[in-house]
Symmetry: C2
Subunit: 360 residues, 2 copies
Amino acid sequence: PPVDKGVDYAQYFCTYAFLYHQKDMLSDRVRMDAYFNAIFQNKHHFSGKTVLDVGTGSGILAIWSAQAGARKVYAVEATKVAEHARNLVKANNLQHLVEVIEGSIEDITLPEKVDVIISEWMGYFLLRESMFDSVICARDRWLKPTGVMYPSHARMWIAPIWTGLLDQKLGQYHLAMDDWHNFAEETNSYYGVDMSVLTKPFAEEQRKYYLQTSMWSDLKPNQVIGTAAVIKEIDCLTATVADIKEVGSKFSSSISTENTKLCGFGGWFDVHFRGRVEDPAGQEIELTTAPSVDHGTHWGQQAFLLHPALHVSKGDHLSISFFMDRSKENHRLMEVEVECDIQQYSGKPLKTLKNKYYIE
Amino acid sequence: PPVDKGVDYAQYFCTYAFLYHQKDMLSDRVRMDAYFNAIFQNKHHFSGKTVLDVGTGSGILAIWSAQAGARKVYAVEATKVAEHARNLVKANNLQHLVEVIEGSIEDITLPEKVDVIISEWMGYFLLRESMFDSVICARDRWLKPTGVMYPSHARMWIAPIWTGLLDQKLGQYHLAMDDWHNFAEETNSYYGVDMSVLTKPFAEEQRKYYLQTSMWSDLKPNQVIGTAAVIKEIDCLTATVADIKEVGSKFSSSISTENTKLCGFGGWFDVHFRGRVEDPAGQEIELTTAPSVDHGTHWGQQAFLLHPALHVSKGDHLSISFFMDRSKENHRLMEVEVECDIQQYSGKPLKTLKNKYYIE
Ligand SMILES: Nc1ncnc2c1ncn2[C@@H]1O[C@H](CSCC[C@H](N)C(=O)O)[C@@H](O)[C@H]1O
Ligand SMILES: Nc1ncnc2c1ncn2[C@@H]1O[C@H](CSCC[C@H](N)C(=O)O)[C@@H](O)[C@H]1O
């Protein structure tokens, strides 16, 4: 079904209109360093060139592009934050180079094609928010045949994890159900209404909320208990919407930690700034959101919980099939199915799991 | 502008689709007792009668109406929770009396007019959510000329208050601004972009968020430091949408506490179940959300903060002008303007305050 623009604004864009939210992104040093280095260590991509910044927000990437020598920067932003971007550009004396355009990239037109498209379009687990659709639209309409994408490549990763979140969420789920049972009893005795028929749907709703909704986490490397696998690679220069609408992957992972608990899977992404084969980056920059001791990002990782947790040990083998699709109700959210066969090191099959998750 | 139904669903109805949210309301004992008593202590209004429940949610009021002897109950609910209501009705053996209809009350039709309209339509500070519009629509279309409204009357109240929330919110606001200043400095030194032009709009945004958004509070009677005033009375049988779209009132209050601080105003409401003049309730029931030691409701009170707080004392006189309007962006939210002249007991004018608030 076609997307209702009003609903899309209410559900998605509205938050970006707040400077508070823009500041959150501008305070993410890992993110900022990556884009900053990508631009200023590859000035040859910007110097004297035309640039399109898709979703300029505060205007930061457009401003850097201009400072790196761009001849002209088109900075497109759908929300009212465009006005702040315009003021920021002026206060930094770049109004002759940076043109801020308020509007959806799908709706606006530019006076010329551009040499570079830069955009920070990545959502949780890369594809949440489906903003890369808009970058593809911009690329197909406005990038010169010789143009360069910033970033140029993106990957999604999955790995088995241990996490304390599992016990926490299980606990919260059980508390919610205890509470329900008290509530149902009281409603019956005080008000003469038997609520028990709603117990099952309430439990389902709470299970979905606490256990099937993937969760933001700040995983540390030692919480990754097996080999990580790339489940999707995107070439930003050529990917189509059809390529990214669904993500399916079959892969295996072997447990690398002795005597631990498999609590679920962690998902994250990285992007690279490599320029274009014919016009490569001098200095290739990576932005990774992988579990890290002290380079966490505001994206963190997404945790997909398994319950009950499963005792596993070094050498145990996981065969995993992963499938992600967009939610029918909201194309910017995702639904995920994970199937996992677990074999002990000895070859003995341990368990087959199948789970459904929501990235909300 | 006409309301976009998709946007209205995304911003308003969607939360009511969760049993979790319905349970919150069903767990509010003050609310439940009031409706329960209103129905069962006035069985003559229900016995053998036809009833329309506007926004039946879980179905509770429809079920009680049937249990009180209604001949037929139409239970209309806009969200998917209607399905749960239908199951609850069945599990309580009332499917021959209660017909659950999924749809907006504005869109559906009934096979007959009804004797009673019952609805729990009250939002924070009574009118937030603007759901009474839908009750008016139902009344004008489906209530018999001799019909009865449950509840029959509603009032809005305002009083001067002391609250610790003021210092808390002021503290949070100042922390947010300190944080901004660090952020701006770092962005300048690390990334060569001068953010200072955004300091003012950021401060405005944060001030709106922390200090101008009315806040849910659980006020105790001793936090009410002056006389409370009724600023609006609604007769549910006759009120029109025009009557409730805007609420304006000029009133005065005298401080009743020695040496205290005026931290703002508290707003709450009550509703009454009086039946109809020609067909009155045998037992008049009140549901109040006023500050209370141990009869708090999930509505609490709305606090409108004043800063800086003002030292006042017994006998000081406040002349207040209050004006509430619907927000242009979302007709279910409100904007409020308060003007307040403060005179000391001696007659000496102390201060004139003017403030704008958002009920979000
Ligand atoms: N289709 C579209 N057209 C225009 N702007 C869009 C868009 N989709 C998303 N955006 C905007 O893209 C921004 C993504 S967040 C990144 C902001 C900024 N480039 C920075 O790096 O700090 C948001 O401000 C959002 O409102
Ligand atoms: N115009 C409309 N048509 C139908 N249902 C509506 C409506 N406006 C609001 N509602 C529903 O009205 C309910 C209000 S909450 C009250 C629920 C229930 N009567 C109880 O007392 O517990 C919500 O479930 C909401 O979805």
